[in-house]
Symmetry: C2
Subunit: 210 residues, 2 copies
């Protein structure tokens, strides 16, 4: 996670994650976050980041190599912090809380950075899909726990992504979500409609329980 690019493994195998290295890493990450919010979610240029972080550009080039991998590194570091996923057992309430949070996050400048960085990484033909799935897995598991909490068997985590996350994402990128609160509620309503529809179809196929 801290070294996303192909780093030559040292013969001794010793790693040095603390002290100055950690400080530099934190400073660079903070600089990336700041510049990204200031610049509307656009991945900042390496020299700019280095100047903001008070670090020599060569250091950033050596450790992260490219803009994309740097932004992805920051985004992955934030994935566990941002957008908590509740699981109280009330499907509508849980989804609504998550979706509200998500829509508001996307609405803020730089809020799309994580998804965009992930999309950029996924486009990379080398370590693309595998790494993407690896990063997404914990989030999908949290979605699964949200669904399990309410006993919703009609939905998969992928459904939640496609019905909530993707419309919120595209809506935000195209500036189509004027009333943010209503938007979130509508997305959740859509999800519940899909659940109802699938449940009805399942009941029609198997009339006496299952």
């Amino acid at each position: 996670m801290s070294d996303p690019h192909d780093r030559e493994i040292q013969a001794t195998g010793t790693v040095r994650p603390g002290g100055r290295t950690a400080r530099t890493r934190a400073a660079v990450h903070d600089a990336v976050r700041e510049l990204m919010t200031e610049n509307g979610g656009e991945p900042p240029e390496i020299p700019e980041v280095a100047a903001r972080a008070g670090v020599h550009p060569a250091t950033v080039y050596r450790r992260w190599r490219t803009r994309e991998s740097l932004v992805l590194d920051v985004a992955v570091s934030d994935v566990n912090v941002a957008s908590p996923i509740p699981a109280t057992g009330d499907l509508r309430a849980d989804l609504l809380a998550y979706t509200r949070n998500l829509v508001e996050t996307f609405d803020r400048p730089g809020g799309l950075a994580f998804v965009r960085a992930l999309a950029t990484a996924a486009r990379d033909t080398r370590s693309g899909p595998e790494r993407t799935q690896e990063i997404l897995r914990p989030r999908l598991e949290l979605f699964q726990r949200l669904l399990d909490a309410s006993g919703t068997t009609e939905l998969t985590p992928l459904d939640v992504v496609l019905l909530v996350l993707s419309p919120a994402y595209l809506g935000a990128t195209f500036g189509m979500l004027q009333p943010v609160g209503e938007h979130a509620e509508q997305l959740v309503d859509n999800v519940l409609d899909v659940v109802a529809g699938r449940r009805a179809r399942a009941a029609a196929r198997e009339p006496r329980d299952g």
Copy 2:
């Protein structure tokens, strides 16, 4: 459309859209399409495009100025050709035909280029949202005609975008749509479930017709 950047208007007002100019434009457009499909939908760099098109880089810089405006120009040129939107009156059939086409388009390398280019353009704070809406308007009107043909009053074109286009887009970017055909059918089923849900709620609010 052919001159997306601020071109200084000549005093005489004469434009010269034919002959050599048209040839270079076509060559550059083809080069952009080729490189974009080869590179996974990534906007190619200007010198690369120029080399592929057999044109001097300065020419491309003069006419299009930046990668983004060049890609957007190509995308806008293709918007009327790609992804026809049927309107036979059968909502499910129309949506399915459109969605199948869309999913397949997105699945092809470079198929996401248009949406991505549009997203990049929308991110531009200057001419962002207005230009985006302007480009999207004809598509949204086609969606409206699709809905009108079947008398579906519960959906807006924006709903179609959020329920079909955005999941197809995000699914394609993250490589989450293994069985493409099933994916399209599932998206359409979701839309129909939403229609049913909204119709039921509307009937509940207004028991005796409306």
